[in-house]
């Protein structure tokens, strides 16, 4: 039981980060950003290139990856999302699929299909908690997930700009009419979404061993499931959803050994998602439909 909880919490922190990125963009623009996971993976390959191939310190490579992918998010907002203006949100979502394919093919051209790996920021064996070995990077990922949650909550509720982000999410034209710079809000959510996704990828990478382009897609989808379980509009909900998905994944892996039933974890998360959508479409914390068409 303790083992399931430790495993679930560690995975859940990562899913929570992906989910928070998804929720930010969804609240800010009314769009599911399907490119998010792959943009984060692109950041990962950039970090691999800087850290493994050019011998830069982990922190420097990781920061560079976060900065570059944040810029990609901002540029995508500036030159695609904003240009699409009042277009149906489905069209914008399709545009993010376009970005996903573009990034994926870029990765295949530059790094090829052969898997890479990235070490964590710390060496060391980690700690044994409830029979599970928790690596330093995994511990860090929990700390970062908590830190990101607290920082975002503070930003959104305590600063004028953050309140503007919430206001623009509820009613973009009304936000503009009180003087909120809605373009900057939109740039912020797309940039933060991409940057947070990269943070999640960097923290999960050491535990994965090797990864190829597209390989983190499953994690992004679990993050999306977490966001939906949490209600898609709620930031605390995103973290709770991440934890729920992490726990469901870990306990299904415990009940049915993955080796004898391949894909059982994915199936369990899929069932969780279905049940949520059928029983509680607004998720655990979602209030009501966003006003975005």
């Amino acid at each position: 039981m303790g083992e399931v909880f430790v495993l679930g919490a560690i995975a859940g922190g990562i899913y929570g980060l992906f989910a928070v990125a998804t929720v930010l963009v969804y609240r800010g623009s009314g769009v599911l950003n399907f490119a998010q996971g792959e943009v984060g993976t692109l950041g990962l390959f950039l970090a691999v290139w800087l850290i493994n191939d050019h011998g830069m310190p982990w922190v420097v490579g990781a920061l560079a990856a976060v900065v570059v992918t944040t810029a990609i998010g901002v540029l995508f907002e500036r030159f695609v999302v904003r240009k699409m203006g009042d277009a149906p949100r489905v069209s914008v979502a399709v545009a993010t699929v376009g970005l996903l394919l573009f990034v994926l093919s870029g990765e295949l051209v530059r790094v090829g299909a052969s898997p890479k790996s990235l070490p964590g920021p710390f060496s060391g064996n980690g700690w044994r908690i409830a029979g599970v070995v928790v690596s330093p990077t995994q511990a860090l990922s929990l700390v970062v997930a908590l830190g990101v949650g607290v920082a975002l909550a503070t930003l959104l509720r305590r600063t004028d700009f953050g309140l503007g982000v919430l206001a623009a999410a509820q009613d973009p034209s009304a936000a503009q009419l009180v003087g909120v710079p809605v373009n900057r809000v939109s740039a912020f959510v797309w940039g933060a979404g991409a940057g947070l996704s990269t943070v999640a990828c960097l923290l999960v990478a050491p535990g994965l061993g090797a990864f190829a382009p597209g390989a983190l897609g499953r994690l992004f989808l679990f993050g999306l499931a977490a966001a939906i379980v949490g209600g898609l509009t709620s930031l605390p909900g995103a973290f709770v959803g991440g934890l729920v998905v992490g726990l469901v994944e870990a306990s299904s892996g415990r009940i049915f050994a993955e080796s004898s039933l391949p894909g059982v974890k994915t199936l369990a998360v899929f069932i969780l998602l279905l049940v949520t959508l059928l029983v509680r479409p607004h998720g655990l914390f979602g209030t009501r439909e966003s006003r975005h068409g």
Binding site: G164, Q170, A174, L177, G179, V180, V182
Partner: protein, 299 residues
């Protein structure tokens, strides 16, 4: 008339190939309540949106305090003194009353944070009901309270001109009266306002001037006193509604006239050194509010 605080000059606008506004001219003086009336589809909301910056003008200019704002984004115009009570109120439903007000003061706080506290205090004084509900999510309040919040949210930013688009739309008659009481009270504080309203009888009790729009052109413009009500009634197709109430309306106007000298001289004094005067009028406004409040309760 002193130099107008808001001026629309020869504006054309529309959507795609269809032109909606044809050479609209409108000038609003300091302290004036300008009523914009017209049939459905006459172009009232489009005019308001051109002023707000939500719809671009094809031709012509919009000037605020003598400054050309035609090319500016809506939020920049708000920073220069435009305030909005949007159609449908559009409060932020999941944010608290106080958060809504803080957002209303977004550009004021960016310019000078120290001006927020007194402005908020003045708002609580003017809208005591909102103070009672300051921690409540705005979406859980009644339509009338949301309307009051929408007005308060616009005023807290100390705007030079407030655009009010159909404040009565979608509200029950009793609440409409409340909303107009609020607007009347606000009008006595010397705020400049453009009011678009379907409820013509209610609007005529509030406005100083009338602009009648007809298929995207100005069909009539002038002070309320010169308005031929039967002409207005014919053009708006509401003859019977305006007829009997004329006497009552004239009465109300007389009352209002008495209130006018209170604000107009201040406005004229303010005109020459505009920028400085604009700041100086703030305490005056607050004082006027204090005076106005008991009077409102008495009626």
């Amino acid at each position: 008339m002193s130099e107008p605080v808001l001026e629309i000059e020869d504006v054309d606008a529309g959507f795609g190939a269809s032109q909606i506004l044809f050479g609209i001219n409108l000038a609003v003086a300091q302290g004036e309540i300008a009523g914009v009336l017209g049939l459905n589809g006459a172009g009232k909301s489009v005019t308001m949106k051109v002023i707000a910056g939500l719809i671009p003008a094809w031709k012509g200019a919009v000037r605020l305090n003598g400054r050309d704002i035609t090319g500016l984004a809506p939020e920049q115009r708000v920073g220069l003194g435009l305030g909005h009570v949007p159609q449908g109120r559009q409060v932020f439903p999941e944010l608290t009353v106080e958060e809504n007000l803080r957002l209303g003061a977004y550009t004021l706080r960016r310019r000078d944070k120290s001006r927020y506290a007194p402005s908020l205090a003045a708002t609580w004084e003017r809208f005591p009901k909102l103070y009672e509900r300051r921690r409540q999510a705005a979406g859980t309040m009644s339509g009338g309270e949301q309307a009051a919040l929408a007005v308060a949210r616009a005023l807290i930013n100390e705007p030079t001109v407030v655009l009010v688009d159909e404040p009565s739309a979608g509200l029950a008659p009793l609440i409409v009266r409340d909303v107009f009481d609020t607007l009347k009270q606000v009008a006595t504080t010397g705020v400049t306002m453009i009011l678009v309203e379907q409820n013509v009888a209610a609007a005529l009790q509030l406005v100083d001037t009338v602009t009648l729009l007809q298929t995207g052109t100005v069909a009539w413009h002038g002070p309320l006193a010169e308005l031929d009500r039967s002409m207005l009634a014919t053009r708006l197709g509401i003859g019977r509604m305006l007829g009997p109430s004329t006497a009552a309306a004239a009465n109300k106007r007389a009352v209002k006239k008495k209130a006018v000298p209170e604000k107009k001289p201040a406005a004229k004094k303010a005109a020459p050194a505009k920028k400085v005067a604009a700041k100086k009028t703030v305490p005056q406004k607050a004082a006027a509010t204090k005076k106005a409040a008991p009077r409102k309760r008495a009626t």
